[in-house]
Symmetry: C2
């Protein structure tokens, strides 16, 4: 007997062709119907979610994780609104990206087309179920979802409501599939389905993403791991150092574009570093300091001394996702760039400097998806970058890099029209 | 002790940063120096090649394969000229693909950057060594090459001449690496080096490409397998059917954009199919025919009858790369599209039709990198498409699809410049 994963991926594959033939307007109408259905079925969805929440609590799941799992009427309304926002975004499918008449007289156009079948593996938040289904439908891709076990009832309920509404709105049978068996074997099987899955996007912990990259035989887009750096050059405007560091570290410490490592020029360690360490410590941030910054910290307030820990080599590569930061004193911009290119996950890094030479060198040589001068790394986001809906933030270089808009779920094809041309 | 593959990939990785800092002009000058060196060292290169050719003949290698292996003074001059042509092409690196000022006042630019380290695994032809090195250098990518065992002496000699010339022209040490151990273990090791290799491009037989796709842990671009179709619709202009079919099948039967399968509308089987089968058979093409076209063939000349074979299911998926073709009678454009989407390798397909409805349906619904109306599939080529130098023809949808120009060896990064902005 064929497995659930294989059968559902095959159904999605079969549906992809019909879905690719639907018109933009038809898909947008389906997105609106899906949004309405989520709201109309709020009671049922909250009930399914309550089962997940109770089970999670019974297992002793930590409250912050339970909170990520929890749906409320307001959260469902936000999810529905995100689908409505998607419905009014421009459709990349069918747009012509280039066109010309070849020497032979053949007219060439390059046109955006769907990828085909998009699969997503994700963890706790059930809103990803609706986001992923919406993004896939917007770009005429069939979709296979594999959510986290904690949210399984919620995910199945949401996917069912969305799918039923989309069918009633004329979408082809089978386009949305949710894997109900959420064990490791099912996940591994999904990663092997070369020829059925056109792209697999893992969203979640670093260990999930690594396991997918290691084991997948289908094309993967790595997303979201962020060991981001803030480098304070000796020429930095002292007015902006503390506000940017606090924003980048403490506004939402659990997100991937928050900074995890601070680099400070030796020549400005006391002048710029002292107020910075004071501000971070006062905000409750534990500082994993190298020898020089540890010694500086020892000379500062009791608050700083309390928050000071000696850094180990492992700290340079850590993504704390919490009120913790590593801090290293560097000789110059060259050493800062080398440190970043060695330890970063190539997500987002920022230099604070008035020296144009240092800024240009940093922006040019740091090998990350988003490189900033004199701004917080927290801006790395599809919405902030003006890309519309965001599928995730790619930390790889192939196909998509940085915040991914709808284009990341498309490919292109060449269409050539002639009048009998043959090649000489 | 660390292996040759690991050490060489690490050296390429280390060189990638320095290479990314070189200027367009410096790299173009190096390309010209490499071209000159190939010609200046012709005698040494021909001597190394002679060793490969003798060894291949001694092993009883078939003459066509020996010919692919063979270098001559004229062939070396062509290889050098290809490097010179590359030197004068526009450089994609550093070009700004989009730019805007965000609501926060941050100025965003998206800029083309090198991928980093490009690896290539390829088979008999030693010219690929120079092509691949040249394409990588043009786009400021470090390069790891693993050629075929038959051409090993030639490949090492070419790579050494190119590398020495590039170093003398100021390129950073280590940017070009050639793996000298060409056994399967070395190939497998290369495919596993996640974090050292940014993209791996296999060029060669379908079995090589499949093995790479199955086993690689680094990002791969699949290239070149071409089970291409020509569909003759009942409305086709009779004047163009035979010339296009002959061009697409017989001009160079061994290339990936040659057709391997012919689909003919039932309603035009005799009218258009009969002259077509006569022309193909006269050109020496063996025809693997389905029941209907077999029966037609039986009623035609002795030449056709001699070349007629009954097709089996396996024929629909075969890439003959030879003077052979499969032939199937279809009801209509829908059946033709279904047959292509099921059996094609998604490379190039063409419809011959005057019916606009049929043409549009075919161009829209056939899921291949290049879809043609009323032209030979032989045009699928970077040069013909106006893309300049071609790295290969991608049959996958992620990152690059169809003929790949220099852009396929690049990624982008977002560069953001602010004046102290923090996220609200």
């Amino acid at each position: 007997m064929e497995s659930e994963v294989y059968l559902k991926a095959s159904k999605a594959r079969a549906a992809a062709t019909s879905l690719a033939r639907t018109a933009t307007t038809e898909r947008n109408i389906a997105l609106l119907a899906m949004a309405d259905a989520l709201e109309a079925r709020t009671d049922d969805l909250l009930q399914a979610n309550q089962a997940d929440v109770s089970a999670a609590r019974a297992k002793g799941t930590a409250e912050p994780l339970v909170d990520r799992l929890l749906l409320t009427e307001a959260r469902l309304a936000d999810i529905a609104d995100a689908l409505r926002a998607l419905a009014i975004q421009p459709d990349p499918i069918g747009t012509v990206t280039e066109g010309r008449t070849l020497a032979s007289g053949i007219r060439l156009r390059r046109v955006r087309v769907p990828l085909g079948v998009v699969a997503m593996i994700y963890e706790a938040r059930p809103n990803v179920t609706a986001d992923a289904a919406g993004l896939a439908l917007k770009t005429a891709n069939a979709c296979v979802l594999r959510g986290g076990s904690l949210a399984n009832n919620s995910n199945i309920a949401i996917a069912t409501v969305l799918y039923d509404a989309s069918l009633a709105a004329g979408m082809p049978a089978g386009w949305l599939q949710i894997i109900e068996t959420v064990d490791r074997a099912a996940t591994n099987e999904l990663m092997q389905l070369h020829g059925l899955i056109d792209v697999l996007i893992p969203r979640g912990s670093a260990s999930l993403i690594r396991s997918v990259v290691e084991n997948a035989k289908v094309p993967v887009i790595e997303t979201g791991e962020g060991n981001c750096h803030l480098y304070v050059h000796a020429s930095a405007d002292p007015e902006i150092v503390v506000p940017i560091a606090l924003n980048a570290k403490t506004q939402r410490p659990g997100v991937c574009n928050a900074i995890e490592s601070l680099l400070i020029d030796e020549a400005a360690l006391e002048r710029l570093g002292a107020p910075l360490l004071e501000a971070l410590a006062a905000a409750g941030v534990t500082i994993h300091a190298d020898a020089a910054s540890f010694s500086l910290g020892q000379s500062l307030s009791a608050t700083v001394r309390e928050k000071l820990v000696e850094a180990t080599e492992a700290d340079w590569g850590r993504e704390y996702l919490d009120l913790e930061i590593s801090c290293k004193c560097v000789r110059d911009v060259e050493e800062a760039i080398a440190q970043i290119n060695r330890y970063s996950t190539h997500h987002s890094e920022s230099i604070l400097a008035r020296d144009i030479e240092a800024v240009n060198r940093f922006l040019e040589q740091v090998d990350s998806a988003a490189v900033y001068a004199n701004a917080s790394t927290r801006f790395t986001d599809g919405g902030e970058f003006g890309l519309g809906a965001e599928i995730g933030i790619s930390t790889q270089k192939l196909h998509a890099r940085g915040p991914m808009g709808l284009d990341a779920l498309t490919s292109t094809k060449f269409i050539l029209e002639g009048e009998g041309q043959i090649r000489a």
